[in-house]
């Protein structure tokens, strides 16, 4: 009757936390149920539901609920079966079906699958003893070795990287060429003797781009302070810089 290859660990109940590990020896509630039936040397076809139910509940008692969902489902089935069998049935009913029939069918079916599985396990073991050509266990993926290099190597590497750049862009930092303060002093000096000056006069002779920008910023700064008055008589006409009347009074 026994289809197990090796006797499963016996269920020492009422015990310690190690019980969960031992229950892992069973591949499911049906397996555990079969084991209990075998221990008691009971016929599958004639299960004493009440006793097996109690033993089953005892066996899963120590389990955490989340691990035991499958077992709990079976436990509830057993409890229901127990209740069904305890309730008086209409005995005159010819077609009375044993409520255990479904469970018995499942147990027998499962037992058959177990037998097949064990046979398949043996076949796999026999096959594993014969090696095929070119079988290589997949090599475990190794982490890369730690990086070791000295300063010289690092510098050489940096040089190689720089050499590989087609045209190295080197940014030259230069002092700010704009001289806004100087341009402001210049404009104020020009306006000391005259009511207004033209834009070109303010720039001076042969102005560079830096001079133009400096003068522009100086004019804007002076206009903001109210020292000068900027007028453009017509669109695109040269700007006229006049002494601000209000500023002149102060």
């Amino acid at each position: 009757m026994s289809v197990r290859e090796a006797p499963p660990p016996s269920l020492a109940l009422g015990g310690d936390a190690g019980f969960v590990v031992r229950l892992d020896a069973f591949s499911g509630p049906l397996d555990l149920l079969l084991h209990l039936l075998r221990e008691e040397q009971l016929e599958i076809a004639d299960i004493p539901i009440a006793r097996i139910c109690d033993q089953f509940l005892l066996a899963i008692h120590e389990l955490g609920l989340n691990q035991a969902a499958d077992y709990l489902e079976m436990a509830s089935r057993l409890v229901r079966l127990k209740a069904q069998l305890l309730l008086p049935r209409n005995l005159d009913d010819e077609g009375w079906e044993d409520p255990r029939a479904e469970l018995v069918r499942r147990l027998l079916e499962y037992q058959q699958i177990r037998e097949i599985a064990i046979g398949m396990g043996r076949a796999a073991d026999r096959r594993a003893e014969r090696f095929a050509r070119g079988y290589l266990p997949p090599a475990p993926e190794l982490p890369p070795p730690p990086l070791t290099l000295d300063l010289l190597e690092l510098l050489q590497a940096v040089e190689r990287v720089i050499a590989a750049i087609p045209s190295p862009v080197l940014h030259r930092v230069v002092a700010r060429p704009l001289d806004v303060e100087g341009a402001m002093r210049r404009v104020v000096w020009l306006l000391e003797n005259r009511e207004s000056i033209g834009w070109r006069e303010a720039l001076g002779d042969a102005p560079t781009i830096a001079d133009v920008l400096s003068t522009l910023l100086a004019l804007l700064e002076l206009a903001k302070r109210g020292s000068v008055h900027l007028v453009q008589p017509a669109p695109f006409a040269p700007m006229v810089i006049a002494r601000d009347p209000a500023g002149a009074t102060t």
Binding site: P29, A45, L85, M120, A124, R127
Partner: protein
């Protein structure tokens, strides 16, 4: 040995998987399938007669050269090769259900085994032992699983018909023998206690 048998030996030696007779037939345009089978038989007998350490095995619909099992321990001790990892009981049970009921859905597997099967199915799929072979017409169109050629290789089966027949099993699926009427539960579980 004939030149064809030599050629087949070389081909089987260099392949990492079983080769079918049809595949082996492509080696030599002049050889018929019958020639190949005869040559394979010759090669097998040659290995047997000379007591070679390897043998020609029919496996997964093809032929493969395998070392003989009596050398497994020595080879493994020397770490020249390694046995494939054993499957767990849960994996074997699931494979058994699939092998006999394929194509079969997850719900039926879980019904038979009484436990959820998601993790085991994924593992078996990753190992290439089962594959999705279709979808059921039923509610939600669940996936249906079947076994792969690798499954046959794992068990050294020629084909699925090599599995034991359901009716040959010692525990056959029998119809439940009817209870005698009126027997109550108390009578059922007391006698066994003695």
């Amino acid at each position: 040995m004939t030149p064809l048998a030599q050629l087949l030996e070389a081909a089987l030696f260099s392949a990492a998987r079983p080769l079918t007779a049809e595949e082996l037939c492509t080696l030599d345009p002049d050889a018929t399938l019958a020639d190949v089978r005869t040559a394979l038989e010759q090669l097998r007998e040659h290995y047997e007669f000379d007591q070679h350490g390897v043998e020609v095995v029919e496996i997964a619909g093809g032929y493969q050269i395998l070392s003989r099992s009596q050398f497994a321990a020595a080879i493994e001790r020397a770490q020249f090769s390694q046995r494939a990892a054993r499957l767990t009981a849960a994996a074997l049970e699931t494979l058994a259900v699939i092998a006999y009921r394929q194509p079969v859905g997850r719900a039926e597997i879980e019904e038979i085994r009484g436990v959820s099967a998601g993790g085991v199915l994924r593992t078996l799929q990753e190992r290439g032992l089962i594959e999705v072979v279709g979808r059921s017409e039923g509610m939600g169109r669940p996936l249906l699983y079947g076994t792969t050629p690798l499954f046959l290789e794992l068990l050294a089966l020629r084909d699925l018909a090599d599995l034991p027949k359901a009716e040959e099993l010692t525990i056959a699926l029998q119809p439940h023998r009817p209870e005698t009427e009126g027997e109550d539960d108390a009578a059922a579980y007391v006698p066994a206690e003695s």
